[in-house]
């Protein structure tokens, strides 16, 4: 269903699911409230009617159980798409993801693949407090054996699912909750994307902003503000958090010689820490300023709107950090 208005991120996700269900009979969906209710974030609205309860299955509130069922189905040849309502709830399925999905190919000597896709919502900003707002994709990016995708633009929301389903490894897709209503811009001529490389979303020469997911828009806005001060920022969308495309990041940092990593997750032990360390290891002698990170405050995401906003990376924080790095604050 292609609407007349601009394509939203939500609609792009929905179109991707429809295409997958239409094009491959092995594909089916499982998750909480994805059928009759149409999805907690309305991504799966209408799919139950279109594809029937065999392929769009409402599950009990039992993440470990239905994720395990998805793993088993994948092992025997299906292409399941499991939806975990938010990544906070994914912890109930962590054992299945980490101890089963990520390890079976390894432990079976390659006899079993687990071509499973798990979608989940991530991130803060919707005033839904600490149990529904965290960014845990960095944790999953720690696990060898899975791929972790973070679509931040319409094209990726629309086209990452295809290669994810085609991949023999379990693939986790983190959709940021603040992006569902996002309308672009997007390039209609793009009809496929890879799930291996980071993308330069804006080119610049003075500083590299490395980000992903929901923080990409903030970085692009910050880069726009910085341009008015004649500070030119390269903005890199990591897209894939595991395996990381270090080459793109390093190429940019070697050009700009400064780097700010923007990550809505907490900074300690984060994917932002990992990127910073890779830069320190590989591009130390190219740096013309210390590395910096803009991350969320190390608190459970607050409920009160003012406090939630204060706890998250904001455009002003990014701009201020860049100015400081350039000795202009």
């Amino acid at each position: 269903m292609t609407g007349a208005g601009p394509l939203t991120y939500r609609e792009a996700c929905r179109q991707a699911l429809i295409e997958a269900l239409e094009s491959d009979p092995r594909v089916f969906m499982m998750g909480e409230d994805i059928g009759a209710y149409g999805g907690c974030y309305a991504v799966t609205k209408g799919l139950l009617e279109q594809f029937g309860p065999e392929r769009v299955r409402d599950t009990p509130l039992a993440e470990s159980g239905f994720t395990g069922a998805g793993i088993g189905a994948a092992m025997v040849g299906m292409r399941p798409i499991v939806e975990l309502m938010t990544c906070n709830f994914s912890l109930l399925a962590l054992d299945q993801i980490m101890n089963s999905a990520a390890t079976l190919a390894h432990m079976s000597g390659g006899q079993f693949a687990v071509p499973l896709v798990i979608r989940m919502a991530t991130g803060a900003g919707r005033r839904v407090a600490a149990q529904h707002s965290h960014s845990l994709e960095g944790w999953f990016a720690h696990i060898p054996g899975v791929k972790v995708l973070a679509p931040a633009v319409i094209e990726d929301a629309r086209y990452m699912l295809g290669p994810a389903l085609a991949d023999p490894n379990p693939v986790l897709i983190f959709e940021h909750v603040m992006l569902y209503n996002d309308t672009g811009p997007h390039d209609p001529s793009v009809t496929e994307v890879d799930i291996s490389s980071a993308a330069v979303r804006r080119e610049g020469s003075d500083v590299t902003l490395v980000t992903y997911g929901g923080s990409l828009r903030k970085c692009l806005a910050a880069a726009g503000q910085l341009a008015e001060e004649r500070i030119s920022a390269d903005v890199i969308d990591l897209r894939i958090l595991r395996p990381l495309d270090s080459a793109t990041v390093l190429e940019s940092v070697r050009r700009t010689r400064r780097c700010v990593i923007v990550d809505e997750a907490w900074r300690s032990g984060s994917i932002a820490a990992e990127i910073g360390m890779r830069i320190a290891e590989e591009a130390f002698f190219d740096l013309d300023a210390p590395l910096r990170r803009v991350c969320s405050a190390e608190v459970p995401v607050p409920y009160a709107p003012a406090m939630e906003d204060a706890a998250l990376p904001q455009v002003d924080d990014i701009v201020g950090t860049v100015r400081q790095l350039l000795g202009k604050s």
Partner: protein, 408 residues
């Protein structure tokens, strides 16, 4: 596991050649032990260690040139390990503005999303970014002397590029000669000249010197010396220089602003009065190793220390700590020197006290011109730290002390 590293033997040392190990794996060491000899632009220096432990592994072979800060040997054991004590547990430090605990969470709504980097004390060395440092090496300029425009005043790539385009930009001192061209325990004259040049250029570039001079009647001191030395064998006799040195050190007690280091835009007073004594080397060059706590040393001890220091300075047996502990410098030209000297401050110190030749000259006593042994005392001091009035107090104090030699 601890590491013993190449020390910086003075502000301008960048590397040294490990000449000789005096310990081997398995050797037990304790603070103050001399563990190796390092050849520097100031000659062969005996380097002490300041930790307890056992040398576990030697990391650098003799003859290797090693940058300052690079590990030379690994140390194991130490007091804690030797006694089988548990590793020290440190209490968690509270992190201002960075609540890490649930109970602390709601209390800082205004905390910025990206906590600011923790404030840190500025390191003693200049902040030079890695890219700037590499570019400076390519351009053969010294980034540590440049003004930084980057974060925390760091010297950035652009600063290096701009500085390198200026004609007066300071080139690095030439690299040392190849090891085989160097005598084992002698001095490489060109290297020493380069080291002096670098230190003195930095001094004249960075330090706004002011100069004061005062003629001092040395007759009381001379009379006291002659009377004292007359009954003593030559080895126990004191030289005039010892009185000058002691008088200068005692005077610095009253004027502590001249004793210390100027680092990172601020004066840090020295805890002790460690006087760097300028030793001219035969055939050119000089070195200013320090005697620590000069103001507390009795004259005979000071004389012995001075003789020992001069001997080792010329033979190439100075210790690492002697080259870096000086908080002020004193130079005395001796009996064959010029009448007066206006010194150049050795950074990061803030003062150099000079004494010219002691010579018989006219002096007015009770309205009569009489011949007296006089010594011209001078002070070159850092105007960033203090003013001439204070410097004048120092010279006056030296004069007072020299009039009462029995109390030195």
């Amino acid at each position: 596991m601890r590491e013993f590293r190449m020390p910086a033997l003075g502000a301008d040392m960048e590397s040294g050649v490990l000449a000789q190990w005096l310990v081997k794996p398995g050797s037990a060491v304790s603070p103050g032990d001399i563990v190796c000899v390092v050849e520097t632009q100031k000659g062969a220096i005996e380097v002490e260690i300041f930790e307890d432990g056992v040398i576990e592994e030697i990391l650098v072979e003799p003859g290797t040139e090693v940058p300052v800060g690079q590990p030379l040997a690994r140390l194991d054991g130490g007091p804690a390990a030797a006694q089988g004590a548990a590793p020290e547990l440190k209490p968690m430090e509270p992190q201002a503005g960075r609540p890490a605990d649930v109970q602390a969470a709601p209390r800082s709504p205004a905390a910025p999303a990206g906590p600011p980097p923790e404030p840190r004390a500025r390191p003693a060395r200049a902040l030079v970014t890695p890219a700037a440092r590499r570019r400076a090496a390519e351009l053969d300029v010294d980034p540590e002397t440049m003004t930084g425009t980057g974060i925390d005043g760091s010297v950035t790539l652009a600063d290096v590029e701009v500085a390198a385009r200026r004609p007066e930009s300071v080139k690095r001192p030439p690299q040392e000669l190849a090891p085989e061209a160097r005598p084992a325990r002698g001095f490489d004259k060109s290297a020493m000249r380069a080291a002096i040049a670098a230190a003195m250029q930095r001094s004249k570039r960075e330090i706004p010197h002011y100069y004061l001079g005062q003629a001092i009647d040395f007759s009381a001191a001379q009379g006291w010396l002659e009377a004292r030395n007359a009954d003593l064998p030559p080895a126990s006799r004191l030289m005039p220089a010892v009185l000058l040195l002691k008088a200068a050190a005692l005077s610095l007690r009253a004027v502590p602003d001249l004793n210390g280091h100027f680092v990172d835009g601020a004066f840090r007073p020295g805890k002790d009065i460690n006087v760097g004594w300028v030793v001219a080397l035969r055939g050119g060059g000089l070195v200013a190793p320090a005697i620590n706590g000069v103001d507390r040393l009795p004259l005979p001890d000071l004389m012995s220390a001075l003789r020992d220091l001069v001997q080792r300075a010329r033979a190439g047996g100075l210790r690492a700590s002697e080259l870096s502990s000086g908080t002020v410098t004193v130079t005395s030209l001796g009996e064959r020197g010029a009448d007066r000297v206006m010194g150049v401050i050795y950074p990061p110190q803030v003062a150099v006290i000079g004494f010219g030749r002691i010579a018989s000259r006219p002096w007015v006593v009770d309205g009569q011109v009489v011949a007296r042994p006089l010594v011209d005392a001078s002070l070159a001091a850092d105007h960033r730290v203090c003013d001439g009035r204070l410097g004048g107090l120092l010279l006056a104090a030296i004069d007072r002390h020299l009039q009462k030699p029995g109390e030195l």
